[in-house]
Assembly symmetry: C2
Homo-oligomer: 435 residues x 2
Amino acid sequence: MNIRFYHAKILLSEAGHAFSILEGELWVRGTRICYIGECADSCEIFPKDGPIIWDREIDVNGNLLMPGFKNAHTHTAMTFLRSDADDLPLSEWLNCKVFPKEERLKKGDIYWLARLGILEYLTGGITAGFDMYLSPQEMAKAAADSGFRMVLTSGFNDFVSSPEQMEEDFYAVNEMSSLTSFVTGFHAEYTTSLQNMERVAALAQKLHSPVWLHNSETRQEVEECIARYGKTPTQLTDELGMYGYGGGGYHCIWLSEEDMAVFQNRKLYAVTNPASNLKLASGICPAEQLLACGIPMAIGTDGPASNNCLDMFREMFLTAVLPKLLSMDASSMDALLALSMAVSGGAKAMGLSECDCLAVGKKADLILIDLNQPNMQPENHILKNLVYSGSKQNVKMTMVDGKILYEEKTFHIGVSPEEIYQKANEVARRVRGGT
Amino acid sequence: MNIRFYHAKILLSEAGHAFSILEGELWVRGTRICYIGECADSCEIFPKDGPIIWDREIDVNGNLLMPGFKNAHTHTAMTFLRSDADDLPLSEWLNCKVFPKEERLKKGDIYWLARLGILEYLTGGITAGFDMYLSPQEMAKAAADSGFRMVLTSGFNDFVSSPEQMEEDFYAVNEMSSLTSFVTGFHAEYTTSLQNMERVAALAQKLHSPVWLHNSETRQEVEECIARYGKTPTQLTDELGMYGYGGGGYHCIWLSEEDMAVFQNRKLYAVTNPASNLKLASGICPAEQLLACGIPMAIGTDGPASNNCLDMFREMFLTAVLPKLLSMDASSMDALLALSMAVSGGAKAMGLSECDCLAVGKKADLILIDLNQPNMQPENHILKNLVYSGSKQNVKMTMVDGKILYEEKTFHIGVSPEEIYQKANEVARRVRGGT
């Protein structure tokens, strides 16, 4: 498809965090952006090609085209547990509610539960997810069938999956579709034996892959790791040789200064998950301190069992304001840093170097934000409006890989949302009922 | 207008915080709810009246009808400062950004700025606001012209308004429209001399009116009040005789146990404003402790200069999760308490006893929530979905006083949103430019 967007505000970002807004046109040919500028005549831009035959020409009416949000940590298929286990401590939530109910899942369930989560991503302008969960191949198929971009890692631990399974998933998912990719990972230190962690490190070395894990999400996790090994999860995993090809941690709340030095030296990414961390009373990620150390950051929603929604607007707002609470200083953490994390930061963490910004040659993973809504007026500062006042309500369109998957509340993802709701409710009912 | 909603889920609430959901019909005659139940034949329900002639019959398609949200603390017309003064400490924000720019407002500006804020309320299912700002009569006219319900109080302090002006506003606003009402109030202890506070107390006694103020929003405010008077703002205002007819405080973060006893004894309401309190690094309201003391609570967005959006979904989420962070216990504050505060709690604080729940004879201030959206699926628990996962995106319709003011992204408020955006941008540009 060739699609021309005109009368647009276009969010550009240069090296670092400098954003600018260009008023003009953005053209998509196939899966990529082929032009951004003020001109309207394709023969002038591509004199050798002749006029581009447009499949659609969309008058954007002064609204904002921007790169899609990258949800850099999630468990998409946990939609079945949404609002089924709230207001509980993390350990009780995980051990008494999540793990037992996951055992009741059957083959095929993950596929439909993931398709539900992907629908929700599209409504909120999320164009790629970084998913850790059971059955990565089912999950990846749900993404590919939806036309959605998904990076997957393994939730391997002492009870789930294996290094052999992870290796199989690595090849299967990386080869499944241009939209899906896989990197090595495991659930967390507290669910994985030393021997199994050593096997992860060996596999990452063999596959030349980064390693990702839940890291320092709770104070208890870090204290127990120190009691077991005399070192923090970050130090332990580093010494096990996990990070020869990089990687990073999800949550990253209770990092010591030595841990931050490891992140810095190994060029590891820290992904913050603020809504989930509030809801599970895990704490506040010291994002400002991490950025000051030069640690690259991204933002994730975490899964729908703990958040409970998959909304990067909520996460951006929290990423910008929680450091203010932590320091009791309202000037902490400029909003545009949160925006940068939610877009290019996520793309870099996920290895999606072709999806980090709007530029010629990049993948057309982009969204259209409605500025003609009361929450985005007046236009004192469009980007601060976006971070502090924006909402899923402002998402008019979500495009992944050059295809419009969501537009004006309508999905174009191959099946009807009603079918997905029905399948997801069937699974949720079965799991609740224990049958 | 007579409007019949059918195929609805209807949120009912009994004494206390017990919610239930009835599947059936809700009928509106004029400004009030005249029937809730399963029956579909008006002649059976009202045998003396003959059949009701419906102006509209709306198939709700299994979605949720619920009372509108009550925004119990706001400065609606501060839309002109949205995203114009972010990431600054509260005192600098107020003294260097807000107060100087407010001086540049001209007569008539407040009206249009308020109309913009009211548009935003409608998009988020807010059916009533409790507003403190300059020019209450302009503000009230904006509400009445929009068909929106608004309770107003005075922002009186040493620099703005006067007791005489407040008394004039009291009569003018209370008589202006059945949608507008006025109670006495003043900005805060730290902006108001002892003599002026004594004049507020005398006026409240004379008018038999409750008194409202910003109370204990920052630690500095409380410490400085103690340094000035040897007592907290709560103790001081109580001893000045402010609360003969009740009232309450906005923010209520740094209350002592003695302060809580005053709230309890005087039956004062505490209104929490969590998003604003995070963004301005003011702290976390000890909501769970306040509720445990039996202090009635409500939720407000605060104004768009500090929040920056007017979204009760964001506020409900934060009201439910911030107590978990404060106590480091994820079982703190059940989500349904936050929902109750956002609906009936607000109505009670604002004196809107006819708008607190859906019941026969109550005012038809109600909203329709789209459950057929991915963030509200599966339906493990509809109300926890609403608090933890709901968004303005789910608001299909907002009705105030029996009139549909917003439906499927279209406003019915007398003027076009474009005209309101244009006027608000004109004011914002003028104030930014200093002309």
